[in-house]
Amino acid sequence: MASSVEIIESLNKDTLKTDIPVMNVGDTLNVHFRIVEGEKERIQVFQGVLIARSGRGINEMMTVRRIVDNMGVERMFPAHSPRVAKYEVLRRADSRRAKLYYLRDRQGKSRRLRDRRRGMKLVDGVPTVGGAVVEASAPAAAE
């Protein structure tokens, strides 16, 4: 008989997404979030810097921070939420921390992160967690 942990993980398996691009803290993302208004459904794009990933598996949360009218806005998304239609990686950045909470205290230029990964060139195409490679999205300026 399967152990209880195995049963629970097999239940979660169906909900876990395999098409999430490989993202690291510091990357600038477009999060396409489904919003249901009555009957209609539309997609809202939230662009910002991924400042933290916490949790594992179904519990994984992504914290995305952006600046709106000089005001910091952070949103947390369950990584595997069916309401997130798509993640797009716009820019990869160099980060030496797992959690970029220090960005909250930064102003102006120092808020920016060094582009590209150390010793690594811009990734051609975006590999996903599931192994497939999605076509690279058009690079766009973050801020």
């Binding site: 209880s4 049963i7 629970i8 249901v36 179904i58 369950p78 939420s81 069916p82 309401r83």
Partner: protein, 228 residues
């Protein structure tokens, strides 16, 4: 009472519901249970159904229990339990019948009965939520004390002792606890799984009893009425 099934608490996780909201759930393995005995008013003085749950190696059972289960035509079972029924409903159950989640009748709310985790000997603050004494103002070595347990005139029972039931320190947990009217989030019938919203008493792999909710609170009663 309606059909009650026995099972195990497997653990907790989270699932996305139809609206895409993460819901905390407890995964329960419920059944299959085999009817091992039927209690009748003529013979036993009450009407009930005894069921067995979870196979175990015969060498871990006892010969009387193996024989008892064999009468119902099944392997030795680990857990046996009864649920009462109306005397008129005895005909609906037969010896050796297998009861599954579907026999609960497509429930939306269930009661889950389990044995809570044992906490050992605990003081009144943890066990009963007493506030303890002051942290300072001269209080010494009595910060978590229950205080006075009653003078001559209060809480006095008959004779010299205290009133029975006076809340004091003692063993906490490891008692039967019922979590009422839990939402059924998902049912996986072919794997005998029920996912209920929220927590359920007891440790993982502990035995639980699952029955359709006996009594709903006002909000949930309204919800059921609205659906109809």
């Amino acid at each position: 009472m309606t059909t009650t099934l026995f099972g195990r608490k497997l653990g907790m996780t989270r699932v996305f519901n139809d609206q895409g909201v993460l819901v905390p759930v407890t995964v329960l393995e419920v059944g299959p249970c085999v009817v091992t005995q039927i209690r009748t008013p003529e013979k036993d003085g009450y009407a009930a159904v005894q069921v067995g749950y979870d196979d175990l190696k015969p060498r871990n059972s006892t010969i009387p229990m193996i024989g008892h289960d064999a009468k119902a035509g099944t392997e030795a079972k680990r857990l046996h339990g009864e649920f009462k029924i109306n005397a008129g409903k005895i005909g609906e159950y037969t010896l050796g019948q297998t009861l599954k989640i579907s026999d609960l009748g497509g429930v939306t709310y269930v009661d889950v009965v389990g044995t809570s985790k044992g906490k050992g000997f605990q003081g009144t603050m943890k066990r009963h939520g007493f506030k303890g004494l002051f942290a300072s103002h001269g209080t010494e070595r009595k910060h978590r004390s229950p205080g006075s347990i009653g003078g001559l005139c209060s809480n006095r029972g008959f004779g010299g002792g205290l009133k029975k039931g006076k809340r004091m320190a003692g063993h906490m947990g490891d008692v039967r606890v019922t979590a009422r009217s839990l939402d059924v989030v998902r049912v996986v019938e072919d794997r005998n799984l029920i996912l209920v919203k929220g927590a359920v008493p007891g440790a993982n792999n502990g035995f639980v009893m699952v029955r359709p909710a006996v009594r709903l609170n006002r909000a949930k009663t309204k919800k059921v009425a609205a659906k109809k």
